[in-house]
Symmetry: C2
Subunit: 225 residues, 2 copies
Amino acid sequence: MARNRTPEGSADESGRRVPPAARTARGSYAVGDERRQRILDTAVDHFARRGFHASSLARIAKGAGITQGGLLHHFPSKEDLLLHVLERADAADREGFLAREFESAAEMFSMLVRLAEHDSARVEQTRMFNVLAAEAGDPGHPAHAYFARRYAGLVEVMAGVLRRAARAGELRPDMEAVAVAVAQEVAAVLDGLRIQWVLDPRGFDLAGRFRAYAERVLRALSVDG
Amino acid sequence: MARNRTPEGSADESGRRVPPAARTARGSYAVGDERRQRILDTAVDHFARRGFHASSLARIAKGAGITQGGLLHHFPSKEDLLLHVLERADAADREGFLAREFESAAEMFSMLVRLAEHDSARVEQTRMFNVLAAEAGDPGHPAHAYFARRYAGLVEVMAGVLRRAARAGELRPDMEAVAVAVAQEVAAVLDGLRIQWVLDPRGFDLAGRFRAYAERVLRALSVDG
DNA sequence: GTCTATATCACGATAGAC
DNA sequence: GTCTATCGTGATATAGAC
């Protein structure tokens, strides 16, 4: 590990790798992409169970139906594989949440509830995020920058929505002062509930619990609450 | 790993190991205990940075000033070492929080704020808990039972305090119905803030943020809020 | 694009000297 | 109680055949 620290050279901006062979010979990415997706799916599964360091390329490859050598053709290092896993998961997030322009705090919260529903249908991916977000607290972790940026962006977007909602008269005016704190709290509730939920997925309804919280906090912050 | 699944045979109920030599020859545990504490401190540090699976006994031993063979004299397996690390941390929790009899919700929250202060003075240990709590979501993880029990106990204690506070007139009567949900939310905020905080410890004040949340939620739940 | 083979290294655990 | 030595396993990554 950590010998090849610049895997970006083999991927384009969107994170989709473009093998020269596929580009020149067929003009189609379908086959290679399918294999890559299988590898990424399997990697999510393994990173979820053991975290990054303790997962093995050979086992991931086996799960994807190829050998370790074959895997390393698609992702030249373990770290490169991790970054592509995160990038793909993040792309889904961005389409679903970060890219949206929310017109009200209520709309944002209901979107977050849908995100929780999405999570509770994917235990593996949720566990992976729990593990990697925690591991990434180490500044030397390959995903440290990714998660630091992710939370900063998430909090910024949410705080912005809260501030706009206050200016628009949806939320109390004193919202301005505590927007960042509330945004961090909302992210924290989602993360914290995920941790408890993964420990016992049948113990309670993740999305339901978060919805109850969201409704309570929205009522507390509303002008007509 | 996982070859020796019953390491309990060498530890007494409190988790303190009692080497026969120390018991019979000197009647003093001081020297051996000191070494054991050094090992446990180092183990906390390593588990925090890499999680359980990716930490190595040889490196932990080196950090504690002995060899891997020497370490395995005190803790006969890696899993045994982890369980003793958790047990020691849990003992501290029980003394500091779970053992307390809270007379009001306000008192409980201020105790939790102190717990957050405690955490923010120990980045390493906090990161360890984040990582292990997330990893333990896997039912096959050695610490799965520990964390499942821990959260169940924590939520039970907090929900009990909230219900008593409602009966005593401190909190609204409808508290009874949502005590468990609120208790889970409180635990979630603490955990979630810890994750964000470890990613950027200088970005915000962990205990301060949690205090702000605690005050807001207490006000929202109070009869005179 | 996928394979086999291999280099190099680290891991957890055991055995036994001192 | 701590050491050295070693076993068996499995890790990442490379090289090169097909």
